[in-house]
């Protein structure tokens, strides 16, 4: 189960020419326990790729299999239910809010998937709790809270559908450093507690190195790397991906070159700090 891509290509239709967005993608994503980061330059096809995962876009050629459902579907086959199984959070999701109250907006998703009013309310409250929306805000208008809170409400709107796989398109874009870390902590907790597969598009290499287990690199529509982050940062062709190293690795490389502390990959600041303490005690 999970999501499989088999030689998938997609091109956007222009007036005269077609623009290839992704080409010949082969990919296998497990139903549980994955934390994947999709990275690549702007225009490399990341957003196009994730929109295939919940059937918003259908491949021009090749096959996507989402929870056993073959895409493109046969005639008259309904695919709407896939969007409950694979929850997709778009860039700047706060723009999709529209209901009168925050709670109603979070309930919108579950209600679309045939939950009763009581069930939907319960699911919405649970989701709101996960993203840290206070109970006193439930009856407020979603247009009268801060941008960071609006984003949390929008993400709760997807979480309330209780998707098996959560896909996030640059969820931390435009947030301040603290908001970024808080939001990532929520996804990490979801991943660790419920063993949910989380797929994340990000440009922030620090977040990728700290949270992701597996990294997929796209370059001009082609999948050029798929593997663990440890392998990615030691990859001999790393420079050809046009990516930046995460800050902890940069610091460690600098220290090795100029201070002579031996290089050991550390992927977040806490482990970097404890490693440096350890070294200085020796």
């Amino acid at each position: 189960m999970g999501i499989q891509f088999k030689d998938v290509s997609y091109a956007y239709k222009g007036l005269k020419v077609n623009y290839d967005a992704i080409q010949h993608i082969n990919l296998n994503i497990d139903e549980k326990g994955e934390f994947i980061a999709i990275i690549g330059q702007t225009g490399s096809g990341k957003s196009t790729l994730v929109q295939h995962m919940n059937a918003l876009l259908l491949p021009n050629s090749g096959n996507v299999v989402v929870f056993g459902q073959n895409l493109p579907p046969k005639k008259k086959e309904k695919i709407n239910y896939l969007r409950q199984k694979v929850g997709l959070v778009f860039q700047f999701p706060e723009y999709q809010l529209f209901e009168e109250t925050i709670l109603k907006d979070i309930m919108f998703g579950p209600k679309n998937f045939k939950s009763t009013e009581a069930q939907a309310t319960e699911m919405a409250k649970k989701a709101a709790k996960i993203v840290g929306i206070d109970e006193s805000l439930y009856e407020q208008s979603p247009f009268r809270i801060s941008g960071g809170q609006m984003r949390r409400v929008a993400i709760a709107g997807i979480l309330a559908m209780e998707p098996e796989i959560l896909v996030l398109d640059e969820p931390t874009r435009g947030l301040d450093p603290k908001g970024r870390r808080d939001l990532m902590a929520i996804f990490k907790e979801l991943h660790e507690k419920e063993n949910k597969t989380i797929i994340l598009i990000s440009h922030d290499m620090d977040l990728v190195s700290e949270f992701a287990k597996r990294v997929i690199v796209l370059k001009e529509g082609l999948l050029v790397f798929d593997g663990t982050k440890e392998k990615l940062f030691e990859h001999p062709d790393f420079d050809s991906f046009h990516l930046d190293l995460p800050t902890p690795l940069k610091i460690l490389k600098y220290l090795e070159k100029n201070v002579g502390i031996s290089y050991q990959p550390k992927y977040d600041f806490d482990s970097l700090l404890s490693y440096l303490k350890e070294v200085s005690h020796e």
């Binding site: 969007r83 409950q84 929850g87 959070v89 778009f90 999709q96 529209f98 998937f113 997807i158 559908m161």
Partner: protein
């Protein structure tokens, strides 16, 4: 969503592209007035003038380098209207002499079945036909042809009289609407929105005397045109976002449709306000002041070709009026 062609400009280098936008607009208005002044009658002069104008427009199109297919595609939204008016004219004008002997028409089991079968065939086959507009006319004709040719197991019948005047009028109105549409679409095909905007602004300038804020209206017009694709893009994004929350825009009941449209409308509304505010600030930061005198980066000068085209348009209008007076 992508086939909206308002103000679709096709880049080119023909004389029609280079024509001064003010002259182009003015000539268009004059020619449109001319086309509507031609009286509908069966006598030779109006018919010939109409056909001459039609041929002239075809020559104009050819000289502009716009592919004929694009121009004819502009007719697509009104094909239904054209056919409808054609047949109404044909059936309800009962003066003049008969063109054909009265044609008996049968509404019968066979003809109804025949029409249904033909319509199914039409719907299936139209995918493979390139000249769809012509094919649509053919289909409309066939509906009547089948009624005339399959009389078996009849329920009721009527007789179709086709008078020459009716045929003339129908054809005349048909050509007139076609002319008007092709002329206006030639304008939008060969003129950039900025140029068009300038043309409108300077043609409306006399209204400034009675305190009409012409430059503001022109700016609003050009911004509106400019933001159509942007807002369409935003709408598509919101549609996808709501689809991810389980909204099924394609297949659902009417009751659900209302909620779905609200879930689309409110975000787009909010976004367009936000965009407008951002744009307003951006314009002010760059020194836009309402009512202040502004200079342009492009200077428009009227040359020989411009004057010639305007004179030609006026001459055509004059001839039409003259022919109307003498007849």
């Amino acid at each position: 969503m992508n086939n909206i062609t308002i103000g679709q400009f096709i880049p080119g280098n023909s004389w029609l592209h280079k024509l001064d936008p003010r002259i182009k607009l003015l000539s268009l208005v004059i020619l449109l007035v001319g086309t509507f002044l031609i009286p509908i009658s069966v006598s030779a002069i109006p018919l010939i003038t109409m056909l001459i104008i039609f041929v002239g427009i075809m020559i104009l199109t050819a000289s502009s380098g716009i592919p004929m297919r694009k121009v004819l595609n502009g007719l697509r939204p009104i094909v239904f209207l054209l056919t409808f008016t054609f047949f109404i004219q044909l059936f309800y004008v009962k003066t003049g002499s008969l063109v054909f002997d009265p044609i008996p028409m049968y509404i019968s089991l066979t003809s109804i079945v025949g029409i249904i079968l033909f319509l199914i065939f039409y719907n299936w086959s139209k995918k493979y036909i390139k000249t769809r507009i012509l094919y649509f006319f053919f289909a409309a004709f066939m509906v009547f042809f089948i009624q005339a040719s399959l009389p078996y197991v009849g329920f009721t019948s009527y007789t179709l009289y086709i008078y020459d005047e009716g045929l003339m009028r129908a054809g005349f109105i048909f050509v007139r609407i076609t002319n008007v549409i092709i002329m206006t679409s030639l304008l939008t095909f060969t003129t950039m929105t900025t140029d068009l905007n300038y043309g409108i602004e300077s043609l409306l300038k006399p209204l400034k005397v009675i305190k009409v804020p012409v430059d503001v209206i022109a700016m609003m017009l050009s911004l509106t045109l400019r933001y159509i694709p942007t807002l369409l893009g935003e709408t598509e994004k919101i549609m996808k976002a709501q689809a991810s929350r389980g909204v099924d825009f394609k297949e659902s009941k009417l009751k659900d449709k209302v909620v779905q449209i609200i879930s689309l409308l409110i975000p787009v509304f909010v976004i367009s306000f936000k965009r407008a505010e951002d744009l307003g600030n951006a314009m002010e930061v760059r020194g836009y002041i309402i009512g202040a005198k502004r200079t342009r980066i492009d200077q428009y000068t009227i040359g020989f070709v411009d004057i010639l085209s305007l004179v030609m348009a006026i001459v055509i209008l004059g001839l039409i009026i003259y022919s109307k007076v003498i007849s």
